[in-house]
Subunit: 187 residues, 2 copies
DNA sequence: CGCCGAGTTGAACTGAATCAAGAAACGTGG
DNA sequence: CCACGTTTCTTGATTCAGTTCAACTCGGCG
């Protein structure tokens, strides 16, 4: 549980009672590489936290898979279009490496938000950070060419290149597999 | 103040004391078309709310202006990269029509967040909604061609076409002025 | 050894940018 | 109310980054 608490308390302090409730509500699971944590079309009932490992969140766009988000160790993730809206999701979540994942039921998270102002505050601040990450991503997709996107990617995920196959990197960057291959050919 | 309270209470109820404090902290201003509400390079100290009118939030990318956000009546806006981080902003905010704007000082907003759990909750939920709007925008920029983007734009801002010049629409859509003109030529 | 998925390389194609020039709309001053 | 200049918008020709399609290479594994 260390990684979760250090993630949360880097944002804002939490009272001990809140930590105790978080502890009581956490569901710790291990998933093997290739496992589908969540499938499109369903309502996602969990907010996840990646304790260790790697996952991809993708959706299908005209028979192609498009990766929207990479879940790396120490960060939260979910099917964001579904979890809060309680509507069916377009996303699928696939575990890419044997991973340790914490899961929090929607109702439990709501209880935490409700009971602890400090937790609600952390929720707001985390969402704000993720908003800024998305803003950067828009900038990338809208104005950077293929080469620049790859460089941005390497900076943002320095230790991930050899853990992801080219298809996935290309999909995350919004460029074709061939273009990415050509870019890497010139180091 | 009607539009602000109805915006906030559509998200979550607020206790009367919170409303009273909001009222006390609101700074109501009127700005003429063309007024620069905020300039890049400074720290933005205000969260704004557009009571009526229109504004654009843009930044400069290699001597060109890129519109990131349109502030329409009934919605909040600010230099989002600066307001919460307290760092200098890349954005400039220009009033596009004579507008009525409410402004909230950073410290006042923090006080509201701090004093009222309900307000903190509203802040979180609004941020979440804006996150989803950005996610849609990524989808637009990454996968829609020029024509589809224009159609998306018309759907999202149905009453705005004739209030914005083509240059601004093109900039918001991330396409060139000429391409947009050609698209409109075929109705 | 041969198959299969992943990655590379080549050639042709394309949507949209850019460059360029002209038309329309707009507003300001005489 | 018109003349002129400026800004906004349209239209055409050219160019380019990246996609698509296709063939080939490489490495691992039954």
């Amino acid at each position: 549980m260390q990684p979760l608490f250090s993630f949360l308390e880097a944002v804002n302090d939490l009272p001990d009672e809140a930590k105790a409730l978080i502890l009581a509500k956490t569901r710790i699971k291990h998933y093997p590489k290739g496992h589908l944590l969540f499938r499109e079309g369903q309502v996602c009932h969990y907010m996840y936290f990646m304790a260790s490992g790697l996952a991809r969140i993708f959706h299908c766009k005209e028979d192609k898979e498009v990766i929207d988000w990479l879940a790396t160790a120490g960060h939260p993730f979910t099917a964001i279009d579904s979890f809060y809206s309680r509507q069916p999701s377009r996303y699928t979540i696939e575990i890419l490496e044997n991973s340790e994942v914490y899961a929090f039921l929607y109702d439990d998270l709501e209880e935490l938000y409700h009971q602890f102002h400090a937790f609600e505050r952390i929720g707001r601040l985390i969402t704000q950070e993720q908003f800024l990450i998305l803003q950067e991503r828009i900038d990338m997709v809208q104005f950077q060419n293929a080469q620049q996107r790859y460089e941005t990617f390497l900076k943002r995920f320095p230790n991930i290149q050899n853990r992801l196959q080219l298809t996935h990197i290309a999909s995350y960057l919004g460029i074709s597999l061939e273009t990415l291959s050509r870019i890497r050919a010139k180091y």
